[in-house]
Amino acid sequence: MDLELVLSAAALIGLAVLIPALMLVTAIFGPRAKGKIKDEAYESGIGATIGVVDQKFSVKFYLLAILFLIFDIEAVFMYPWAVSVRELGWFGFIEMVVFMLFLFTGLIYILQKGVLNWR
């Protein structure tokens, strides 16, 4: 058994036990002052919170999420391919075209669902 591995495992376990234990200890034994003003929520120097915290937002945001994902994934894969485009040659090019086609179907889907007609 490698000593390093044992030590690293011990360090991980130690962290996993120690941090919650410390949090628990401070929660139980730490001094705590309570009061009407102390218990109030505090936000960037403004006394009371503005608006509601658990407000609902439109399910339509999933379309924006898909839009973001499509272009994000595209960029993530395009850059490494662009760097090694010469080594990969036609094989890489065809693979990339297939990949783009898959992404494009996703784009068609959200366009048809009306991601750009924001109401």
Binding site: M1, L5, S8, A9, T105, I108, Y109, I110, Q112
Partner: protein, 471 residues
């Protein structure tokens, strides 16, 4: 190289079909029935392609491109066939359910097809990161399917619980991959197996811990005992066809991964044998105890799914790893899938608007009003309980004989005991259907596709029992 594409063709067909269905659902140009028929057609095509036999040895398709990430064998082929058949029958019976409950949209079929493509990838995966990606493809599709009825509170609760469970399992799995990669610098099953058989499992604590995490994540997905906690709620809240799909196709895919991890390198299983033994026993009896306490039919079926996982674990422990063909496991999975899908297809048809019939008592006297439906449900229940002329009996027989031959006599005996215990809740419904008076007319609306489905599956259950398996 040229025929490699044949091995992956079912995966390609299902994936392209899923994308096609997605585009069609965006344009909303077809009716639900057409989408259902289309997905049935896709699955049927993939099933037919999958009938081409391969031979027992592992074939690595496109080694130069995939670098041994995927392997195809007769085991993966049959597992894929079971999964595709599950998708086919779910797509068929879902239409009856949607027509009765007045909801449903075209995306349902697309999502289900995507889930099936992920499961096909799962059965073939030979490397941890591939397993992870396939697992997430399946999970993401199934999250949406579980919460498909957005107006139902139970359904929303189910999807939240399943999401948390899935996130937990995904976290365990990712941590496991990280530890295994840290230990070996490789994530392939072959490399893990080679390392374990060379140095033993406990030589390398990071490897042992990583494999333990990976096993836990997979156990979450197949509802092994200490990881089963919310599964009954999830199965209860999901729409009936989705519950049937999850109970059968997902279980088949994950058991295939477990078999790949545990058996193809027999030494890994040997190291965990004690843990697997206790988990199996606890899974069998915890599942039975939960099922006995249920009044709702769907919850009972969910809990009985835990028991069936226990039987599959017996098989995983007992099957010899040397000449692994997986025939016992696959036979049991096929028998279980046919009977479970059958009963969920019957329920899709009979449960009525908003699933108003869900308790055992709601089906009192079904045999007097609808004798054929009652007969079909009886066949499925007897198969799940393991009564002779059905496939379920043969499946249990093969598993118990395998356990006995493998020297696991205690597991064989406990398997029989658990089978006797399970009669309690399976026979309850049969008694309610046949020996109680009807106070319901069991009126149903919607298409006839689910009854057709149940009819085909009832024949499958009886026909499968005639199919011999080499142990």
């Amino acid at each position: 190289m040229n025929c490699d594409i044949v091995f992956l063709l079912p995966l390609f067909i299902v994936t392209i079909g899923a994308i096609l269905l997605m585009l069609l659902s965006a344009f909303e140009s077809i009716r639900l029935e057409v989408a259902s028929a289309l997905s049935v057609g896709i699955f049927a095509l993939a099933f037919l392609v999958q009938l081409v036999p391969i031979g027992l040895t592992d074939v690595l398709p496109f080694v130069s491109i995939f670098n041994g990430m995927l392997a195809v064998s007769d085991f993966t082929r049959i597992a894929s066939m079971i999964i595709i058949a599950c998708g086919l029958f779910t797509a068929m019976s879902a239409i009856s359910y949607f027509r009765q409950n007045n909801f449903g949209s075209l995306e349902f079929f697309s999502l289900m097809t995507f889930a099936v493509s992920g499961m096909l990838l799962l059965t073939m995966a030979q490397e941890l990161i591939t397993v992870f990606i396939a697992l997430e493809t399946v999970s993401l599709s199934i999250y949406v399917l579980v919460g498909y009825n957005r107006r139902n509170v139970l359904s929303s609760e189910a999807v939240l619980k399943y999401l948390i469970l899935g996130a937990f399992a995904g976290g365990f799995f990712a941590m496991g991959i990280a530890l295994v990669y840290g230990a070996l610098g490789d994530t392939g099953f072959a490399a893990i197996a080679a390392s374990v058989s060379r140095d033993g499992l406990l030589h390398n604590p990071a490897l042992a811990g990583g494999l333990l995490f990976i096993l836990f994540a997979l156990f979450f997905k197949v509802t092994v005992f200490p990881f089963h906690s919310w599964v009954v709620d999830v199965y209860d809240g999901a729409p009936i066809p989705v519950t049937g799909f999850m109970a059968t196709a997902l279980k088949t895919a994950i058991i295939a991964v477990l078999a790949n991890v545990l058996l193809l390198a027999g030494d890994i299983r040997e190291s965990w044998l004690d843990m697997l033994f206790y988990l199996t026993v606890l899974t069998l009896f915890a599942g039975n105890l939960i099922a006995i306490g249920q009044n709702s039919l769907k919850r009972m079926l969910a809990a009985s799914g835990i028991v069936h996982t226990g039987y599959l674990l017996i098989a995983l422990i007992a099957v010899s790893g040397d000449q692994f063909s997986g025939s016992v496991i696959l036979y049991y999975l096929a028998a279980y899938a046919a009977s479970t899908l059958g009963i969920f297809a019957s329920l899709s048809y009979l449960s009525g608007t908003d699933e108003k019939r869900k308790e055992f008592n709601d089906f009192s006297g079904l045999a007097k009003v609808r004798p054929y439906s009652a007969a079909a449900i009886t066949i499925f229940l007897l198969s799940m309980a393991g009564i002779p002329p059905t496939a379920g009996f043969m499946g249990k027989l093969y598993i118990i004989v395998t356990a006995y031959q493998g020297g696991h006599v205690i597991l064989a005996v406990l398997g029989i005991v658990s089978s006797i215990l399970s009669m309690w809740y399976y026979l309850r419904l049969i008694i309610a259907m046949y020996f109680h008076e009807a106070d319901d007319l069991f009126e149903t609306s919607g298409s006839r596709s689910a009854p057709v489905c149940a009819f085909i599956l009832a024949i499958c259950v009886l026909a499968l029992s005639l199919y011999p398996v080499a142990i």
